[in-house]
């Protein structure tokens, strides 16, 4: 398939992906009733009045997992070209990639040893 034709398909799919929900929302706007009242518009809170501002104190763990994710995600982007070209690369590239992964595994082991992989 020619390169640009393929991405034209992608563009058309993106367009349709937007048009379908927009169309459904328009249909909803025409068909659905609209009777807002203050009780209904409150956020769910087991029957109590809802505090208007929900800035909760968060667990920093979330950020730690996001951190690990970013670093290992970057690792995978170097693995893909390596895997695709693997048959043409030979042993040298294999060893280089083991070194690359090995260095990052050190980071994982560090996080593991420091008990950062646990949810406390």
């Amino acid at each position: 398939m020619p390169y640009f034709l393929g991405y034209t398909y992608v563009a058309v799919f993106l367009l349709f992906g937007i048009l379908i929900p927009v169309g459904a929302l328009l249909a909803n706007r025409l068909l659905a009733p609209r009777h807002p009242d203050p009780e209904k518009l409150q956020a769910y809170e087991c029957g109590l009045a809802t505090p208007s501002d929900n800035t909760l104190p968060y667990n920093v763990r979330y950020y730690i997992f996001a951190l690990l994710f970013v670093v290992f995600d970057v690792e995978t982007i170097f693995l893909y070209p390596w895997a695709v070209a693997f048959n043409r690369l030979g042993l040298f590239a294999f060893v280089e990639m083991i070194v690359f992964i090995g260095i990052l595994v050190v980071g994982l082991v560090y996080a593991w040893k420091k008990r950062l992989l646990e949810w406390l």
Partner: protein
């Protein structure tokens, strides 16, 4: 000049119909199966065998009032369902249903699905944040933490496949399995993929983001009507996509004797979906600490071992 545009629009329309139909069918399939596994009939009122139940559900959701909670972040609240659905639909552009039966066989096909589906994480965070409700927010954060934790083993488990096929093009990956399904030499990768993909689509036993007993309904607590429907649609699209990738990357794709390729592809995909639903019916929900440490301490090392083994076997 008119004809290529016609083809483009036709492909998108057919796929759109397929995605909507599949999501509706999956809802019925899952409810029916769960019912059977729990020794109850499941939906059986609307249409034969309850087959029209999802159609009724969709109609109901379309005419429901669209509630925008007070104090919500309006633009983000409105956009979140779109952000969830568009990438799910865009992923289907590279999905081959048979030899040549694909809208766009991109060179980076597999990577396109993986890249586009990560964007959905942002939709969940947006929904959680914009609702301005603590249950939704916690659900959104949990969903995001879970999805990013299982994204890494998921992607790594597929590296072995790419390595063996030497291409990211999905057609090539299927062709490379002409003699042996990748699920056989790469059992480890296949198992890691199945678990990670189940967790990615936030399904039981990994459905913590919407753990009803603690978080009401997770990130879509405040959503109703059509907007809720699109979150659902996106979720079921991802279930289908996860099973389809399992089929294409590990189970030989559309290849098989006697039956036409499309049928084989769908049979294999639905077998994987059956397995995912079976998991849901069998296993209890795990805790978030178990979930995260399992992803990082078990699945991630296992997927690295899989890559190493596949690479090593190439030299022997």
């Amino acid at each position: 000049m008119g004809q290529p545009y016609l083809r483009l629009a036709a492909a998108a329309l057919i796929l759109a119909a397929f995605v909507l139909g599949t999501a509706a069918f999956l809802v019925w399939f899952e409810r029916k199966l769960l019912g059977r596994m729990q020794v109850r009939p499941g939906p059986n009122r609307v249409g034969p065998g309850g087959l029209l139940q999802p159609v009724a559900d969709i109609l109901k959701l379309t005419v429901k009032e669209d509630i925008l909670p007070e104090h919500a972040d309006r633009p983000l609240f409105r956009l979140a369902p779109l952000m969830a659905f568009v990438p799910a639909f865009a992923a289907f552009v590279v999905l081959p249903f048979g030899p040549g039966l694909v809208s766009a066989d991109l060179n980076i096909g597999l990577l396109w699905i993986l890249a586009v589906s990560t964007v959905s994480v942002l939709a969940l965070i947006a929904a959680g944040w914009a609702s301005n409700s603590k249950y939704a927010l916690l659900g959104g954060m949990r969903a995001a933490a879970q999805m990013i934790s299982y994204e890494v083993p998921l992607v790594l488990s597929l590296i072995g496949v790419v390595l063996a096929a030497g291409s990211l093009r999905l057609g090539r990956i299927v062709a490379a399995q002409a003699h042996l399904w990748f699920a056989v030499p790469q059992v480890l990768g296949f198992i890691v993929y199945l678990i990670a993909a189940t967790a990615e689509s936030n399904r039981s036993p990994f459905d913590l983001p919407e753990g009803e007993s603690e978080l009401v309904a997770g990130f879509h607590t405040e959503y109703s009507g059509v907007r809720f429907a699109f979150f659902f649609l996106a979720e079921y699209s991802y279930v289908f996509l996860a099973a389809a990738i399992a089929t294409l990357a590990f189970l030989g794709g559309w290849s098989g004797p006697f039956l036409p390729p499309v049928v084989w592809f769908l049979v294999k995909t639905y077998a994987v979906i059956f397995f995912i639903i079976w998991l849901r019916a069998t296993l209890p929900r795990i805790r978030i600490d178990q979930l995260l440490s399992f992803g990082w301490k078990v699945l991630l090392p296992l997927s690295l071992v899989n890559i190493f083994l596949v690479g090593l076997f190439r030299f022997i």
